[in-house]
Every structure is written in structure tokens, then in C-alpha cells.
Amino acid sequence: MQQNHALLRVEDLVLYFRTTQGAVQAVDGVTFDLGYREAVVIVGESGCGKTSLAKAILRLLPRNVDAYSGHVYLDGTDVMSLGDEEFRRQVRWVKMSLVPQAAMNSLNPVLKVGDQVAEPMMVHSAVKKDKALTQARTMFQRVGVPVDFLNRYAFELSGGMRQRVAIAMALTTVPDLVILDEPTSALDVLTQANIFNLLKRIKQDLEISFILITHDIATSSELADRVAVMYAGQIVEVSDAYRFFTEPLHPYSQKLMASVPRLRGDQEPEFITGQPPSLIDLPPGCRFAPRCPSRFEQCKEDPPMVEAHRHQVKCWLYA
């Protein structure tokens, strides 16, 4: 693929965890790329490995890693070949940052939020504290938090404000890429809409790329340029947002779209029978086959990722 045009290219990324029951294949051969100023949404149900994918890209790994391999090209350089210390100095929070899941609860309760937003700059850009705080102040204005909140503690802020602070923290070093892990799932509808307005504005103004990880397809459409559907540790479909939302191809994507209750329009939502497989004991061949309405003989083998109607689909129906 056009490696020169991609900001991020993830190639065959693998992340397994060791447990007493066996290896958990959380991320199993994920490949996708992300252009400059582009937002790609990774959707999937809980337990499909989408958070692990974010952790794998940022190399925020727990101790029980069983296998970690593949390539992550950022701006053309393979950051997987960097040592841990180099990665921390050159990549994490400098070029890529993360708004973690339940970010509102991930703020440090004993530090003022202003100091927390200033900290990445002091660490990575060797900026003095007063200058970092000034920068934090402008960042607060950008994300719509009143500047006098700089001196407050996390518990003094509402959920929506804490989420904004977490976004400010990810933005202070002006990275090229921000990974948002379920940024709005714990928030109310109006706050959710506000946060998405904010993210859209940041995307326009700061020319930042986003990876948005979510289980909520309806709100994901607020930011998506492209959509990648993840199922049982693998990406099963990638396509641009317009094509995906009008005509998803993979049977799982179709089922997922049909399960979304809609406010406008009268389709009855459907549910997907069965349960996602355990990531320890995966079915051979296509992982969705046991639940798939259109499975046939060939689904016993692992389907390749193929190009169909300008989507990329991992399904024998289109091979």
C-alpha cells in the first residue's frame, strides 16, 4: 500500500497474553493504515481485543505478554524496532498519545488537573513549569474547560469536564496521532455530543489524526472517516465511513449495524445469536462462522482479506 501517504501503518500486529488457561490471542495479525488528518474508528464488542490493539500500538504492555510482534510504521519509520526507552522518548506522547478508557477516572486524585496537563510537556519538551502551565491554560481554552479549573482537583469536576481534561492531556504535546479509547461511553447524551463537537473541531484546527475505539456504532459515525470492524482479535472489514454505513459487507458488520436501535427510521433492531468465541480457544477457520447466517463449506478455512466493492473484507463470500 502507499506507505508514503500513511501516517500510521500497522502490519500484522500480534499481541498474546499468557494466562493459566493458555494464551489469550487478543490481537491476532491486525493490519490497517491511517492517513494524515484522518480518523479511523475501530468498532467491536467487548472482549474483541480493541483496547489491547490500542495498548499494542502504544506499547503499553502488562507483564504477562506471551507474544508481541509485527510492524508499526509511524511516518515511515518502524517504531517496533526502537528500544523501550527510545520509544518512550521519541514516540509515546510525542507522536502518539492516548485518552484511556474511563479517562475521567484515570486522572490522579491528588494532583491539580492543571499540573497533570502540564506534566507531559515538562517531561517531553523539557519546558519549565510556568511555561508548561501557560501552555496548559491555552489547551484548557481549546477543549472548553474554564481556565480557573487549572487549580482544581479531579473530584471537583463533572464527568464531562474530566473527560475534556483527559483530552487536553493527550493534546498538550501536539502529537500527530491521538488514540481515543471509548471516550464517551460513560457520559450523558448531551455531554457526548459536546465532546464529539470538540473532537471534530480539534481535528480540523490542529490537523491531528484519530483512532477512535468504541463499541457504539451510532456515535462512532460522528467522527469516522473510515471504519474498521474487529471481531475476536482480528479486523474483519475496513472501508470508508460512507460505504460502511450505507452498505456493510461482512456478515458480522451487517449484523452489528442491524443491532443498533435507531431514533429515526423504523427498522426493528435485531440481535446476533450466540456469543463471541473465547480468545483462548478460537474456532478454526473464520472466527465468525459459528454465528454466521451465510456460512458454507469454505468457512472452515481462514479467509483472506480481500478487496470487494472498495471495502476490504475478510470473508469467503467475497473471495
Binding site: E45, V189, L190, A193, N194, A218, L223, A224, V260, R262
Partner: protein, 330 residues
Amino acid sequence: MPVEVKNEVLLSIQNLHVWFELRRWGFGHAGYVQAVDGVSFDLRQGEAIGIVGESGCGKTTLMKTILGLCQPTRGEISFKGIELSTKGSREMKFYRSQVGYVQQDPYGALPPFMNVRRILEEPMIINGMKSQAEREQRIRSVLEEVKMTPVENFVTKFPHMLSGGQQQRVVIARAMILEPKLIVADEPVSMLDASVRVEILRLLRRLQASHDLAVIYITHDLSTVRYFSERIFVMYAGKLVEKAKVNELLRDPRHPYTHALLTATSDPDAENAATFKDVPPGEPPSLINPPLGCRFHPRCHHVIERLCDVKEPPDFEVEPEHFTACWLYR
């Protein structure tokens, strides 16, 4: 509110206030959290209603008061014509057996040290069902109703051995076990994945129809409520600001807050990414010192000076059975 003759009113709430007193300092008095402030509605036998509102709007307090877990400060709740506060402890126990409760977080709602049989048996023991065989029979029929079959495989399981959807089915089975007349479901699907969500909502709806249950469905998600209930009540800062039939509310929302909620709710559509949403600024008010007048006025685009910020709007009936508490419709 006009009541249809064919269905009797099961639960009637009149001018309900639930206030919590703040901690006193010395002899002083710090004020009240006005969690529910003047809520009235009637619920008919076999009817499903949805109460929609953001977190902190008082919907959980309203629910707890209906369940008899909070005491009303003012106003009354009557069940089948008898007021709750006049009930003695024995009558209250019977009332609680008539009202099932489906919690938001199924895993948190199930005791981790009890297996499914024990969880379902306990309410029956408490309510004096002595015969072991009868209880076993009831457990079996309830589990079959919530589609946990074969029953033998599930009765010995502990909550952590079940998936999220199955846990929620056990919670529903527990709510149903005493054959209640009313089910209160507090965000029953918000912790579940999209694909399971629909399954659980359908199950609830089927139970509602087959047992002629009244259901109060409390949620913040307007897109699921339309598949479930006949009427929607929109709650904001302790008050019901709009009450209407589902389709009418979705087609023609009157209160500016309802309007904002509808605008903010997304459907999966690629066009969304290109547009900014018109969201009211600010956040819901503190319930300790709520704004004077209409509680939504500081965030409202249509505020009428010297009216909305001074005087509280009453319910206006804009269409038959469509009420809204907004001065725009005076």
C-alpha cells in the same frame, strides 16, 4: 390527567417531592438536595413507560421512592388506590413482592456467593413459600421464560460463570419470580453489548405482554426507549418536563430540552462526521440550589426574559395527552 376507562390505574404518583437534607453544621441548616421535585403521573395496568433523563436528574431517586427505598418528603404514591405511607410493614412487604426491580449492572446486582437456584429461591423463602417442590417448579418455569435453558445447566452456576447477557436474564428472572404486577427497570441494557441489548429488551417486552405487566423503564438512551414503551416522560433536574406518547414525542418534541436530547442522539450515518451538533451550552444544574423559574432556562435558546427565569412553568397540554412544562406553550 385523563385516564382511560378500560385500564385501571396501577400506580399513581401525585406531586411527589423527594428531598435529601444536607449535613448540618452546628445549628445551621445547609439546605436540601431536591432530587425529585413535584413529579406526577399515572401508570396503568399493563402499560410500559420510559423515563428519560441524564445522570443526576433524579430518575434513580424517583425509582427508589417507587420501590419504597426512599421516603417521599411531600406528595404521595398509591398502588392500586392505597397510599404507600399508610401501609404497615406487612403490607409493605406484600407491596415489594408486587414490584420487581431490574438493576443496571447485573454483575453487581447478583450476590457472588450464591448460585442461580439460591438467588431465585431467596425471595420465595422470604415471602413464605414453604414447599421446596413448589419453589423448584417456579424456578424452572421462570428460567424457561427468560430462555435460560436447559435449566439444569444454569441453576448450579454462580454469577461469574455467566456472560453479561445471561446475568441480566437471571436478574430479570429474580424480578419476575414472585409474579409482580410492576417491573422497574433501571438502565437494564446500558452495561451490555449492542448485539445482546436488543435480545434483553425483546425479552422484557415479551414478558410485559404475556403477563400484562406494567413496566417503568428508566434510561438515558432515547433510541432504545422507542422500541419499548408506549409513553415517554422526559426528566430534567428533578422535574418531568415533557410527557407524551412515544411516536408523538419523537415526531414533534415540544420542550427545548427534549429537542436537544433528540438532536444529540446519533444514528449510524456517515453524514454525522461533517456536521456539528447544536447542543445547549453548560451542564445540568446542581439540585441543591436549582435555578429559579424553569430549571432549563440558563441553557435554553428560547428563554423569555422575566418569565422563564422567575416563574416555574406548569404543565401545558399542547395536544391531547401531550404535556410540556414550558412557557413557550402558554
